[in-house]
């Protein structure tokens, strides 16, 4: 150890006040800044622009950064291309930890800077990548153009050249650990105060100007007339396949008690058949079915050759505060007609404290009839907390298993949500 402490003061100084270590540091920084290998990482839109930056038109290889490594061990830079969600935050942190230092982070796009378009009223997006990783360079845009990415890359190069790479191993910034608060509205208040001062100063300046030039006459601004657009009558849809009336007659022959679902009709004051005809082709046949007939009706719709609604287009739910509607959308790819039907599920009575986290309704599964229903029902379970009895694999689809609450319910509360102030 003795030598290690004594040697540097002897070897280090160079003539002219510089030190040896600075020269070495300069070379290392030069090498590091010109050879930044990014990680192949992208979550959404920005990833396409990142790839476009590597493509012939823009060509990131000019800066020596075209070596996109798939293994985090071998890369220097992680370009956070795309939204980071709470679920992805863990794996992303792991990726960053797996990278070998010195490592740099570029936050590409609005989502990684602050949450961007997903800042307000959102429960799953991380509001800024700097809450989980130390970010070196921020590139605004949604998504930023490849040129902007290059600008960010060049700024990172400049930053690397200016760090003292040998004395500090590599600099890690502090991570922004405060809980997500509505920083924007605070900023807006400060902005308002500034604006007021500015207005006042301007008024004073204007008054002074008037005093000095009493004869001054301002130019009158000419308004550009906004183009006027005509009202155009709407052309109704022209769907192929059986008409709503034919379908409705076929279904009513088997299930006579069903009611049409159309809010404007005002609880079926007109007879259903006439209503169907009056609604025209823009309307897709949509009716309510009691829970006990739900599976029987689905089976009928799928297996009747006249209807042959063999494709489950979608299965989703709506929370009407007092009850859930599970909406099933069916399509016949051979004949062309569409049929929607819904089952109304009253919410179970539970105490107000338990309500947000409790499963409030259940309905039989359709995954035996359509394999497509498997994931759709898992999604509904995940988002609404509706249980599908008989489902082979009832797990959450999107959120983590320990996520509290069911996001698409109207009574859902989450600490991550920042309410829009206006």
């Amino acid at each position: 150890m003795g030598l290690m402490h004594k040697l540097p003061p002897i070897v280090d100084p160079l003539p002219g006040g510089k030190t040896m270590i600075d020269a070495v540091s300069y070379i290392i920084n030069w090498a590091r800044s010109n050879s930044i290998w990014p990680l192949t990482y992208g979550t959404s839109c920005c990833a396409i622009e990142m790839m476009a930056a590597a493509a012939p038109r823009y060509d990131i290889s000019r800066f020596g950064s075209e070596v996109f490594r798939a293994s985090p061990r071998q890369c220097d830079l992680i370009i956070l291309a795309g939204t980071i969600t709470e679920k992805m935050a863990g794996p992303l942190k792991t990726l960053y930890d797996q990278m070998s230092g010195p490592k740099y982070v570029i936050a590409m796009g609005a989502c990684t800077i602050s949450g961007g378009p997903f800042y307000y009223d959102n429960y799953s997006v991380v509001k800024g990548a700097d809450r989980i990783l130390p970010v070196d360079v921020y590139i605004p845009g949604c998504p930023p153009r490849p040129e902007a990415l290059f600008n960010g890359l060049l700024m990172l190069q400049e930053k690397i050249r200016k760090t003292e790479s040998l004395r500090n191993t590599w600099h890690e910034h502090e991570i922004y650990t405060k809980p997500a608060t509505n920083t924007w509205s605070d900023a807006a208040k400060a902005w308002d105060a500034l604006e007021k001062i500015k207005d006042q100063e301007q008024a004073e300046a204007r008054a002074k100007f008037k005093e000095e030039n009493p004869d001054y006459q301002a130019f009158k601004a000419v308004r550009v007339v906004a183009p006027a657009f005509p009202e155009v009558p709407r052309k109704p849809d022209r769907p192929r396949g059986k008409s709503n009336l034919e379908l409705w007659k076929l279904i009513q022959a088997k299930f006579p008690g069903l009611k049409l679902y159309k809010k404007e009709l005002g609880d079926h004051e007109v007879s259903d058949t006439a209503a169907v005809e009056a609604l025209g082709t823009d309307y897709t046949l949509d009716f309510e079915v009691p829970v006990d007939q739900y599976v029987a009706l689905a089976t009928f719709l799928k297996q009747t050759p006249d209807l042959s609604l063999e494709m489950l287009l979608d299965l989703t739910a709506v929370d009407f505060t007092d009850h859930f509607d599970v909406v099933v959308q069916l399509l016949s790819v051979t004949q062309g007609q569409k049929v929607f039907f819904r089952v109304s599920l009253p919410k179970k009575e539970v105490s107000p404290e338990e309500a947000p986290t409790a499963i409030l309704a259940s309905v039989p599964t359709l995954s035996g009839l359509w394999p497509a229903a498997n994931w759709k029902e898992r999604e509904v379970y995940d988002m609404f907390g509706i249980d599908f009895t008989g489902h082979p694999d009832m797990r959450r689809l999107f959120m983590e298993d320990d996520f509290v609450g069911y996001p698409l319910r109207k009574d859902f509360v989450n600490p991550n949500i920042i309410k829009r102030p206006y």
Binding site: I27, I28, W30, A31, R32, N34, S35, T40, P56, D59, S61, R62, F63, G64, E66, V67, R69, A70, S71, R73, Q74, D76, Q98, S100, G101, P102, S165
Partner: protein
């Protein structure tokens, strides 16, 4: 050939030193330095060249910013890699983990040792050069296998197993093609093989053995690409399937060693191809076909070409072959691992055996070009 006639410095030391072991050591050191220079020296240039070739294929520019035409790009990369953090993954077998990157380099250095670079430029010339090459080139497999095994990573292990299977398989056909050349030239001595191709272009084995030569060369290139683990046969890395294959867990210097080994291997393999098929260090010479009016012109052109030293010709041929390898990599998609294996065992191996048989027949009936 005796070493003493090729080594001027060795002679000098032997003359003035009372002990013979001094000469041996000096000779050894010189040999090692020479191999290092030949192997490691051009590698950064080759990496730069590869990036430029890739850029050319993909309608891009390639590195432009560091030095003229980005020539210093690889220098940057190497310095950066040397000063990066060296990570040993949790649960890795430390000894094997750091031994693995050294092995592929060793194998290719040993191959480089027996390559004749010029008439009087060769580190060692064992009489059984070809079997020696076949033996030592297998060391690379060991490195990859160890790397995959010791990393404690499933992707690495999969990559290593793929690589092991692939390299051992393609070693077979590579050896058979080498045997074919040995059969043609009648010697297992690398130097003799080169000297057996003296004359003009038609005396190179790629043309001298009618049809068989070109077939053998094509199969050599396919097998060598697989043996090098380069695209399109880069099963062991297969970025889209196994992230980075056997070297997923390697960072910094250890990764740089693998990176370097790939290019040194490429130099060694291309050098062998040039020795076996393209006349090694012999200069390019046009044939005159005994056609009287052009004999004089051809002779003078050939004379002019022969002024360039053998080392230059060797390097030129190697660069040509390496560029060929690079174009392969940036043009073709990757076959699946089982398809690659069936290509070897169901097509290349039988074809090579037939080639060997036909070669023997050609020799026996004197069908080789004069």
């Amino acid at each position: 050939m005796d070493l003493s006639t090729t080594n001027f410095i060795g002679d000098l030391v032997r003359e003035y030193s009372p002990y013979s072991w001094v000469a041996s050591i000096v000779n050894g050191v010189i040999a090692i330095v020479a191999i290092m220079a030949v192997g490691v020296g051009p590698s950064p240039m080759l990496i730069w060249w590869e990036r430029k070739v890739a850029a050319f294929t993909q309608a891009r520019l390639g590195p432009m910013r560091v030095g003229p035409w980005g020539l210093l790009q690889t220098v940057c990369d190497v310095i950066k890699l040397l000063f990066k953090e060296l990570i040993t993954p949790h649960g890795a077998d430390k000894l094997l983990f750091f031994l693995a990157p050294a092995l592929p380099l060793t194998g290719s250095f040993l191959v480089l040792a027996v390559i004749p670079w010029d008439h009087n430029l060769q580190v060692a010339n064992p009489g059984m050069g070809v079997p020696f090459i076949i033996a030592v080139s297998s060391l690379g497999i060991l490195g990859t296998l160890l790397a995959g095994w010791s990393s404690n990573n499933k992707f690495s292990l999969l990559g290593a197993l793929r690589c092991g299977a692939q390299m051992i398989s393609y070693e077979v056909s590579l050896s058979l093609i080498m045997l074919f050349v040995v059969l043609m030239s009648g010697s297992a001595d690398v130097r003799e093989i080169v000297l057996s191709q003296q004359g003009n272009v038609t005396d190179w084995w790629i043309i001298k053995a009618p049809f068989l030569g070109i077939a053998a060369f094509v199969m050599y290139m396919i097998s060598a690409t697989a043996e090098l683990n380069r695209g399109p046969f880069d099963m062991s890395e297969a970025e889209q399937e196994l992230t980075a294959g056997f070297h997923t867990e390697y960072s910094s210097t250890a990764f740089a060693m693998f990176f370097l080994a790939e290019y040194i291997n490429m130099v060694a393999t291309s050098a062998l191809a040039s020795v076996f098929f393209l006349g090694g260090f012999l200069p390019f010479a046009f044939p005159d076909f005994g056609f009287a009016p052009i004999v004089g012109v051809v002779a003078s052109i050939n004379g002019a070409l022969a002024i360039l030293p053998g080392f230059f010709w060797m390097a030129g041929k190697i660069l040509f072959l390496i560029t060929l390898f690079m174009f392969f990599r940036w043009t073709y998609p990757r076959p699946r691992v089982d398809q690659l294996m069936s290509l070897e065992w169901k097509f290349l191996l039988p074809a090579n055996l037939i080639l060997l048989g036909l070669g023997a027949v050609f020799i026996a009936f004197g069908l080789i070009l004069p």
